[in-house]
């Protein structure tokens, strides 16, 4: 019961503070699930981001079900999902009411101004921690741990994404396939 309550509060916070969509929820999920409660290791969290990328649905809801099931089975997934959608259900409903009454959007847009740089930085921080995990295999960041294959895959994938803008899922699958091929051969 205490665990279910913790899951609910955690994902309530993720829902409440993830503004801007897309990857905005990722640093918050990492904060709650890896740093605060240690429900997942950083490596498992990175796997979760990969899975979320390849399945439909918002990353926060994917994380809620993935973590909920692992921590407390199906009730865990239900509670975490409900916790995640409750803040928007309250806040967005209120905004819907205000919008219908006043049709005013400018105030919202100005608040968004300073949040965007912060959210960008937080996503960068989460992304770099996954990159460090890939480059050093989760060990200390010293040359002896450096993973040359992962470094090459990252560099290649990043360049490909910047220049050709392919489907991200294809890029990730390609990285996985190359890693498997090199590992087996």
């Amino acid at each position: 019961m205490a665990l279910l309550y913790k899951l609910f509060v955690s994902f309530f916070q993720v829902g409440l503070f993830s503004i801007g969509g897309g990857y905005a929820a990722m640093p918050l999920i990492q904060n709650q699930v890896v740093d605060t409660h240690a429900w997942l290791s950083l490596s498992e969290f990175a796997d979760l981001v990969i899975i979320a990328e390849m399945t439909p649905g918002p990353i926060a809801l994917n994380a809620a079900s993935f973590v909920g099931i692992r921590v407390a089975g199906i009730p865990g997934a239900l509670v975490a999902t409900f916790g995640n959608v409750l803040p928007p259900m309250l806040i967005v409903s209120l905004l819907a009411f205000i919008y219908r009454k006043y049709r005013e959007m400018n105030a919202l847009k100005s608040v968004l101004g300073t949040l965007r740089p912060a959210v960008t930085a937080l996503i960068a921080s989460a992304g770099v921690s996954i990159l460090m995990l890939a480059l050093f295999g989760g060990g200390p960041r010293v040359m002896a741990n450096f993973q040359w294959l992962e470094a090459a895959l990252f560099a290649g994938a990043f360049l490909l994404l910047r220049v050709k803008k392919p489907n991200p899922i294809l890029v990730m699958l390609l990285c996985g396939a190359l890693s498997l091929a090199v590992g087996v051969l």
Partner: protein, 198 residues
């Protein structure tokens, strides 16, 4: 409060239609919120004519600037618009169910496959790939911030990164500080003069 005749009736068929449409959109859209709102526009504006183009644009902007997943926020707004409170519930339920079911199944399979050496080889490569995907998004977002040529925004971005990555400051405090900075900035601009601000 009297019920306006223009309000859609709270009948079961409408709720069912709303539920099924969000369920289908949520099941088949990969690539997060921005893609989903596109599908919603096509469905609700172009096909069903439940919402005008301008309203949908405003709903998308609202969804993107409110807390929570964009897809959930958009279905809350569309749900209220089409069928009030019950419409909102039906739309959210439709949006939430597919990831709930799919990820629950994957979560079970993950614990079965996580020890497999071939699977972990693939996952190791994909970690490098997903890091590239995220940092590619970050590059695009950061460039947009830098383009504004606002010293405050640029410093805020650098400061937030240093605080989060090097000093492990709690993400929630960083977001609250950024929001507070935004409010302060708006107040200062208003004080300096009404017309020239913003």
């Amino acid at each position: 409060m009297t019920k306006k005749p223009s309000l859609p009736p709270r009948d079961a068929r409408l709720l069912w239609k709303l539920f099924v449409s969000t369920l289908v959109i949520s099941s088949f859209t990969f690539g997060g919120g921005y893609v989903i709102v596109n599908f919603m526009k096509r469905k609700y504006v172009d096909e069903l004519h439940w919402i005008t183009e301008q309203e949908m644009m405003d709903y998308i902007a609202l969804s993107q600037s409110s807390p929570g997943p964009i897809a959930v926020n958009a279905s809350i707004l569309v749900g209220w618009h089409v069928a009030g409170f019950w419409g909102m519930l039906a739309a959210v339920l439709g949006t939430v169910l597919p990831p709930l079911v799919i990820l629950s199944v994957i979560s079970y399979m993950y614990s079965l496959f996580v020890g497999n050496p071939y699977v972990s080889l693939v996952m190791r490569g994909m970690k490098a790939g997903v890091a590239a995907v995220i940092l590619d998004v970050v590059f695009t977002m950061a460039r947009r911030v830098l383009k504004q040529r606002s010293i405050v925004h640029t410093l805020l971005m650098a400061g937030a990164f240093i605080a989060a990555f090097f000093f492990k400051v709690n993400v929630m405090y960083i977001i609250l500080s950024a929001a507070a900075a935004g409010l302060l900035l708006a107040l200062l601009q208003r004080r300096r003069g009404h017309g020239s601000a913003v």
